[in-house]
């Protein structure tokens, strides 16, 4: 895109996002917030994947850490403002990542993936069992949600205003997405991609491979924590099933698959498509699990490149055809 077009596009996007709650009403605004939360969560898993080539089958642990961190902070620290609460959640996820780092740093693909699946299960059981802390099955609910205060400027109540919460969430989640996307452009990001392509060579060039892997891991965890924290604030409820269940770990995986692996934009697109499917399925049938199951199977069998893969394939078809025809005509 040329010089003026790009900022104009961003401006248009910003205006659309700002106007969204007014245009869509509270229900769809909330649907959008839900989408944004999972878009960030999925993008964080994508960061891990594209920077380290590693896939976690239990990314929910960081989502849950973020959610529980924020919920516990708000429940037990009276008068805690909104942003520090959010940061507490992120911090919880980061700390968890730092603790797990040495364990997972040198693992290969399979072990890494499966280990996280196991850790997610472990964390789920612990969250269920430590009822006194986590509320067990019921989770932590109805904790106070403070207004967003910009000292000296304004105080936006969050609790009963879907609109205000939307703006808050979109800013936080939007910044997160932008940051993750921008990461690929930085030298750090470039190094990560190099490591993914050929770790040995990158090491010879003087980059510390394990440390950079670890950094990517922590960043992925941090943003998963952001998503989890906003999720907790959005629902005013954090429970084991909602934040740590197997479904929570699978969601970003299936989103990435649907969107198209390896692409940042694919992660977001996949989230949108999957959310759409989920929205629609419930309205038309009781057989939710049948439709979802068939969807998963169909995607992996027939569209393993995801939506982007399909788009790419179609593009090839359309742009290759005329050339072929021309060649045929010439030879005839």
């Amino acid at each position: 895109m040329t010089g003026l077009l790009r900022p104009a596009a961003w401006l248009l996007l910003a205006c659309a996002l700002a106007a969204l709650p007014l245009a869509l009403g509270p229900y769809y605004t909330n649907v959008f917030v839900s989408f944004a939360i999972f878009a960030v969560f999925t993008a964080s898993l994508n960061v891990l994947l594209s920077f380290t080539g590693l896939f976690s089958f239990g990314h929910a642990i960081f989502f849950g850490a973020g959610g529980y961190g924020t919920a516990l902070a708000l429940k037990h620290i009276p008068g805690l403002p909104l942003l520090p609460a959010l940061l507490t959640g992120v911090l919880a996820a980061v700390v968890l990542a730092l603790i797990l780092c040495p364990v997972v740093a040198r693992l290969s693909g399979t072990a890494f993936a499966m280990l996280h699946l196991a850790f997610a299960q472990v964390m789920y059981v612990i969250a269920l069992k430590l009822r006194a802390v986590t509320g067990g099955e019921d989770g932590i609910g109805n904790f106070p949600i403070p207004p967003l205060t910009i000292p000296g400027v304004a105080s936006l109540p969050m609790k009963d205003s879907p609109q205000n919460f939307y703006y808050f969430a979109i800013v936080v989640l939007g910044l997160s997405l932008w940051f993750m996307w921008h990461l690929t452009k930085t030298p750090f990001g470039q190094a990560q991609l190099a490591i993914r392509e050929n770790a040995k060579r990158t090491a010879y060039l003087g980059y510390h491979v394990p440390q950079t892997k670890a950094l990517a891991y922590v960043i992925a965890a941090a943003f998963a924590g952001v998503a989890g924290s906003i999720y907790g604030l959005f629902h005013n409820l954090v429970s084991a099933d909602g934040a740590l269940g197997a479904v929570v770990s699978f969601a970003p995986i299936i989103n990435i698959m649907i969107g198209g692996i390896g692409s940042f934009f694919g992660a977001i697109l996949g989230t949108a498509v999957f959310q759409l499917i989920e929205e629609l399925v419930g309205r038309f049938t009781d057989k939710v699990e049948l439709v979802m199951g068939l969807t998963f199977v169909a995607v992996i069998l027939y569209a393993p490149g995801g939506v982007l893969g399909v788009v790419r394939a179609l593009r090839q078809k359309w742009f290759a055809a005329p050339a072929e025809n021309a060649a045929e005509r010439r030879s005839a």
């Binding site: 229900y27 909330n30 269920l128 629902h235 099933d241 009781d286």
Partner: protein, 468 residues
Amino acid sequence: MKAALAGASLFAALFLIPAAYAQAPSKAGFEVKDMSDMSDFDPANTVVPTGDTIKIAVVASFSGPAALVGQVYWASISWVAHDVNKRGGILVDGKKKLIELIKADHQSKPDVTKKIVERMVLQEKVHILWGTDGSNLQKIINETANKYKVIAINTASLSDDLQDATNFSRYAFQSSMSADQLGRAHAYYYGQIRKKEKKFYILCQDYSFGHVLAEGFKKGMKEYYPDAQIVGEDYHKLFLTDFAPYLEKIKASGAEVVFTGDWIPDAANLLKQARQMGISLPFAHVFLDEPNFLHEVGVEGTKGLVQISQYGVEGAAFKTPEQIKYYKTWNDQWRNKWKTPPFNSRLFEHGAGNIGSYIQQTYWLLDVMARARSTDPEKIIQIWEGDSYRFINGKVLTMRPCDHKAVQDLHILEFVPPDQQKQSFNIPPYYWFQGTSAAGPVHTIPAKVVLPWMDPKLDRCKGKNPAG
């Protein structure tokens, strides 16, 4: 002397008069004579009207592993809607409107619950949210109801904290029984009515319902059965596969009764595995009443079970011709017309128990709406608070105004072999089930000893009479 008189009259004014008033026979109740012809009702093929209707969202799990629950609720509430619609609907807002039921599948997930309830309120514009299994999900329903000022009726979640200071909403009504009072009811029965066994083992599910139920039982024991002993207390994880280690502890403890609030599948697995291990102890329970697994265990294994019920009636279950007619209307339909599983299974045979309760609770809701002549939540709240309703089986429920919980008698059902079930099932064929023990002797636990827990922190209830 004067002070004593004044004190006595104050006491009378504050406690006796309102208490008597709360138990006074109510004019509002279920009238069988008004019932429509239900011979075309089949829960598998319900007819849902459209247009300018009274919309009720039925929030439950309609898909996934717990789909049976949604089916049970749907059958219950559809029965009521079918009846009322055939009568022409209810006169509200100046027009006679039919009842339109809308399925809201929460898939047993908290975030789906929020989404679906919001959609019901904001897009479908429902007037009532009817729900649900799972107190954590009911909390989400109540919260949304409060936010958008829509009436929520809780017919099935038993947690006491739903109506506590943190979670209370004016728009939410709990017409179902609640955990704390169930525990106390059992204690009252064992200590004041039965007065036999003295050693009790508590084995409940490890989440809020299990804990509150157990606490209620322990509280009740202290008050009504101080001689008794709690010889053990355990909380097992939900959906437990192997109960053997707990059963071993129970065996060793010398317990005479096992108190539990487990529901399916834990309820079924607990009973089955206990009997398989040779433990023949009676269970004091809430949900060990699903006929299919009871038949599996058999008459001997289910003898002596003691259930606390929100749909019981002392002595004979059918005392009036109207009650017999009401029972037969459901039973004949089940027997002759319903061919689609699960509605043709034993679970739906009698339309009593919890199904009966859901049905009557729904009739109460619609009766309140009819008297309010409006779908306006404020008018409904005004009528419902303090309202009393008589169920078909004679039970009277009163909606406690300060925290919207139902004050009601509860009933203890003692399970006996089929030849003794005549005490309860007093019409041919004189048994509830041939293949399992079921209700025989039924005892009333009066409302005043099992008042639902009232949160002392709830401002609305400060200084109020817990009897309503």
